[in-house]
Symmetry: C3
């Protein structure tokens, strides 16, 4: 199995994927910290522990963090599948690196645009740019498996 | 690594998986289009850009699209794992194809039933039918790794 | 491909992963049962079928089940990627088993703590303990691919 990690395209893919997983984990930590700071908890037992039942409430910024995180699940998790299979299709290293890097940067900018409420269409542009390599990989995989 | 894509079962699995990823991406596009048409945005900055703060609001059909998309995440993403591992257990091609095709059709019908609010129990039936090959694959994998 | 499943670390990882997929499916079943019992449906067509439009409503316990399920998506799905790649880095079997088992137990306790509203910080402690092997695997993978 080690042979897979010695493949340059696959190990490049793995590198960016792990960074994106750490980025997603960071979203969860940020959401938790905002809940504590804003005193806005989803569960009564958490609210009770941090001051009282009145703190079981929604907060606009907590909801923003949650939307950013959910958008990651919708886009980054399918990338793990696409990138792994795409790496098996024998792409050139430079082109593959471009795919992974564009996706990675697009998703980092997407999260920043979400969390800092940057002026539209920054966030949707970052989302769209990150989708381009995904659609490209999807097409290349379909061509390889004989669509 | 190319050897994996030359395996008929695995490439059949990859084919349906990529179609399902494109289907999930379509859910996101539909949600975005409905937000624009209904003028119902989740973020104040998006509402401001499209007419004013009053359009930062929820809409029943946007919420329906979001639920359909979330249900995909809950079911299609685990299928990517199950299908990949199941392909490694050496199933017969015809039986494997039946597993993947039933899941694929079940999920397509599930999305259609959700988006068009088809008469119950169409949607829950499609969900249940799509779960059958998943449970079957899970059991066969557990038997292979020596449960 | 069968060779991967004969690798002890990988098959141990697959074993716990399949159990966690079955656990996630159980969350969906529980949510559905609670919706029926509490008569709290997300879709008007479901409410109509089960007594009338007034049952298209939210319920605190249904929302709790949904949060527990979403937390699984945020944490268990990335584990499938991390565990698979980590298995390729050639870890010792005992250490790898410890990683997988700690994650597995942490997530089981997390779900129990969520569904039974156990006294804080049980749930967040279970979440944190389950994250430890994930961060450990992420670091070991980055070291292997030459961070």
């Amino acid at each position: 199995m080690d042979a897979m990690l010695e493949n340059s395209v696959f190990s490049c893919f793995v590198f960016y994927s792990i960074l994106l997983i750490l980025k997603m984990y960071t979203m969860a930590v940020i959401t938790g910290q905002v809940r504590l700071r804003k005193k806005a908890f989803a569960n009564p037992e958490d609210a009770e522990r941090h001051g009282g039942a009145q703190f079981c409430r929604t907060d606009p910024y907590v909801e923003r963090c949650r939307r950013a995180h959910l958008n990651d699940l919708e886009n980054i998790l399918p990338f793990f599948f696409l990138g792994a299979i795409y790496s098996m299709t024998g792409p050139s290293l430079v082109i593959a690196q471009a795919h992974f890097l564009i996706f990675f940067l697009g998703r980092i900018i997407h999260s920043a645009a979400y969390l800092f409420a940057l002026k539209p269409p920054t966030r949707s542009l970052a989302y769209t740019i990150a989708q381009v390599p995904c659609i490209s990989m999807a097409i290349q995989i379909l061509l390889t498996v004989g669509f």
